[in-house]
C-alpha cells in the first residue's frame, strides 16, 4: 500500500513540460480554450448590445469600435472560437455516441477539425480585413 509520507519526498517525473503534443491532444485543449473564449465573449457581447441600443450616437460609436483593430480582432477570435467549438463539439458528440471510435478515426477527425478551423480562421481574417 501507499505510504504518503514516503511518496511526498520523491520527485514527480516531468509531465506536461516534456509530453509531445499530438493532434488529438491539441484538439481537446483547443476545445477548452475556445469554450473559455466564448464564455468570456458574453459580457463583451452584452456591452456591445447595450452600446448599440442606447442612442444613434452610441450606435455609431459602437460601430466605429467594431470596425477598429481591436473590434475586428475580437470578432475574429470569437468567430474562430465559435466555428472550432461547434465542429469539435460535433466530433466529441459523435465519439460519445460510438461513431468514429476507431483509433484511426479519432486521429483523422482531430486533424480534419484543426485543419477546418485553420481555413476558417484565414477566411474570416480576409473577410474582416477586406
Amino acid at each position: 500500500m501507499n505510504d504518503p509520507g514516503r511518496l511526498t519526498r520523491r520527485s514527480l517525473s516531468p509531465r506536461l513540460s516534456v509530453y509531445r503534443w499530438q493532434p488529438a491532444m491539441i484538439a481537446s485543449l483547443a476545445h477548452r480554450v475556445s469554450g473559455l473564449i466564448l464564455v468570456l465573449f458574453v459580457p463583451l457581447y452584452l456591452w456591445i448590445l447595450h452600446g448599440m441600443t442606447g442612442s444613434t450616437d452610441d450606435f455609431e460609436r459602437m460601430q466605429q469600435w467594431l470596425h477598429s483593430g481591436l473590434g475586428r480582432l475580437s470578432l475574429w477570435f470569437v468567430g474562430v472560437a465559435l466555428f472550432y467549438h461547434f465542429c469539435n463539439g460535433l466530433r466529441f458528440l459523435s465519439i460519445d455516441a460510438g461513431w468514429c471510435e476507431s483509433r484511426m478515426m479519432m486521429r483523422l477527425s482531430a486533424r480534419v477539425v484543426i485543419a477546418m478551423a485553420g481555413v476558417a480562421a484565414l477566411l474570416l481574417a480576409v473577410l474582416l480585413l477586406g
Binding site: 500500500m1 501507499n2 511518496l7 519526498r9 520523491r10 520527485s11 514527480l12 517525473s13 516531468p14 509531465r15 506536461l16 516534456v18 509530453y19 509531445r20 499530438q22 488529438a24 491532444m25 481537446s28 485543449l29 477548452r32 466529441f92 465519439i95 460519445d96 455516441a97 460510438g98 471510435e101 476507431s102 483509433r103 479519432m106 486521429r107 482531430a110
Partner: protein, 236 residues
Amino acid sequence: MVDVIRLSVFRYDPETGSKPSMQSYEVPFLRPGMKLLDALNYIKWELDGTLTYRRSCAEGVCGSDGLNINGVNGLACITPIAGLKQPVHVRPLPGMHVIRDLVVDMDHFFDQYRQIQPWMKATTPLPEHERLQSPEDRAALDGQYECILCGCCTTACPSWWWNGDRFLGPAALLQANRWIVDSRDEAMGERLDQLEDAFRLYRCHQIMNCMEACPKELNPTAAIDNIKRKILARKS
C-alpha cells in the same frame, strides 16, 4: 544507417539529494532491428552500471519497461531505435513519483486497478464444466483483455496528472470495461454504480493521449465512452 546512437537519459537518485538531470550517452548501433531496451542494456552493462530501469520479458508482454520516449509513452523493448529522432530523450513515465532514474512508484496505479475489482463476479451456480461464451460474446472482449498494465496510457493522461488521486485513469477504466462487456460477469450494475462519479469516470475529457500511447494499440478512450453509454442507457 547511423553507427552511434545518442541518448539523453533522465537520472535521479533521491538518496544523494541531488536534483533530477539528463545524462548523455553514446551507444553503438548493434544490429538491425535494435530496440531502445537494447541501448539501455548496453549503457547498464558496458558504460554505467548505476543506471536503473525496469525490464523483464523484452518482448512487449510484461509491461515493465514503460517509459517516456522522445515525449511519448511507450515500451522500450518494442520501440525500434531506427525510427527515433536523436538524441533519444528517455524519461520515466510522466507524473509519477520517481524511485530512481527511470523507475517509478506504481503502487497508486495498481491500487486503482484493484479498485475496479478485476475479477469475474457471478452469483449463478457454477455449471458442471466452465461458463461458456458464444463466439460473439467472446469477440466483445477483443481490444479489452490485451491490456498488460504497463501504465503508458494512464501516465499520458493530463486529467490523471492533475486528478490522479480520484480519477481512475485510462488503464483501470479499460479494465473495468473489460468486465462490464464480459457476458459471464453478473455485476455490471454494481460496477457501474462504483464508476458513476464526477471524478472516478467523468474526469476523462477525451484528450485521447491514452489511445496514442498504448503500445498494444488498444483504445481506452473508446472503452471509457462505452462505460458512459452503459450508465446513460440504464437511466433511460
